[in-house]
């Protein structure tokens, strides 16, 4: 599993680069954009041998199982939807948070490790024809919830 660790290192360097470079402590937009770009291009490769998706739910299932497994080496723990374009993806041991100690002080730093993934999911969905807004919520490390809101217009 030596190749897996490279992704962790690269990710933390990206986070470092985006946040320390311009002294913008709370500007996550560039981090999200890097994720978006990655997801947009990556999904082209990942869906190469996958049959065509029938509907939105099938696409979401692909994101939660195949997509998540390929990137984070595990599936999400829970996927919920209200059937009106709102999806909640729960991962009880989110890969980028598993190396952080649990504590209130560490919790403050959690947001910077989830924004890349928000962008990644949004980029992947955009390329599959679904416009969405993705936000994340960390209540206790290492669990993480992603809220995916589909924008229909």
């Amino acid at each position: 599993m030596s190749e897996d660790i490279l992704f962790d290192f690269l990710h933390s360097e990206i986070v470092n680069y985006c946040l320390n470079n311009n002294n913008k402590e709370n500007d996550f937009s560039s981090l999200e954009y890097i994720g978006f770009n990655t997801g947009y291009r990556l999904i082209e490769r990942l869906t190469r041998d996958v049959p065509r998706f029938k509907d939105e739910l099938e696409t979401m299932k692909f994101i939660c199982t195949d997509f998540w497994t390929l990137i984070y080496k595990k599936q999400v723990d829970n996927l919920r939807t209200n059937n009106h374009g709102m999806y909640v993806v729960q991962d009880r041991a989110f890969r980028f948070l598993t190396r952080i100690s649990t504590g209130t002080k560490q919790l403050e730093h959690a947001p910077k490790f989830v924004f890349f993934t928000c962008g990644l999911v949004r980029g992947a969905l955009t390329n599959l024809g679904i416009n969405s807004t993705v936000t994340a919520e960390v209540q206790t490390i290492p669990a993480c919830k992603f809220h995916i809101e589909i924008n229909r217009n």
């Binding site: 490769r45 869906t47 065509r52 998706f53």
Partner: protein, 139 residues
């Protein structure tokens, strides 16, 4: 093997087109554009749930006296159209499938290049060389 290979984007903007015979480029472009209607028809979600409708390869879209036009649509709604000479009877369906598969592989590689902006025409020389190889039938 093929006389024309083209890639059309999500919004039906041409991303890439190459022909074996430059003199016939206009005519072949016309064939490719005419095929887009058939592609759209085949991708309608309301069409009966036939098993093959889930496949990315769409099969032969239509044929004329001189050409056969084959289509392929990726999950991300990028369309590939290959035009083959009707006189080429030796060409089997499997070979067309293989051409699409190779083309798809090349396309994904090209998209993953960070210097390529998605939605722009594909101008990569490396990509072009590889597609020419597919067209010649020795990919």
């Amino acid at each position: 093997m093929a006389v024309c290979i083209s890639i059309i984007g999500k919004d039906n903007a041409p991303l890439y087109l190459t022909t074996a015979d430059m003199d016939k480029e206009l005519e072949l472009q016309y064939r490719v554009h005419a095929a887009l209607d058939v592609v759209e028809e085949k991708c309608q979600p309301i069409s009966k749930a036939t098993p093959e409708s889930k496949e990315l390869y769409l099969g032969m879209l239509y044929s004329t006296e001189t050409h056969k036009i084959y289509g392929f649509v990726t999950n991300t709604k990028i369309k590939f159209v290959i035009v083959v000479d009707s006189g080429n009877i030796a060409l089997r369906e499997n070979e067309v499938r293989a051409m699409f598969r190779n083309l798809h592989m090349l396309y994904t590689d090209a998209v993953c290049n960070p210097f390529y902006a998605p939605g722009e025409p594909l101008a990569s020389k490396k990509f072009d060389r590889a597609v020419q190889k597919i067209m010649g039938g020795n990919a």
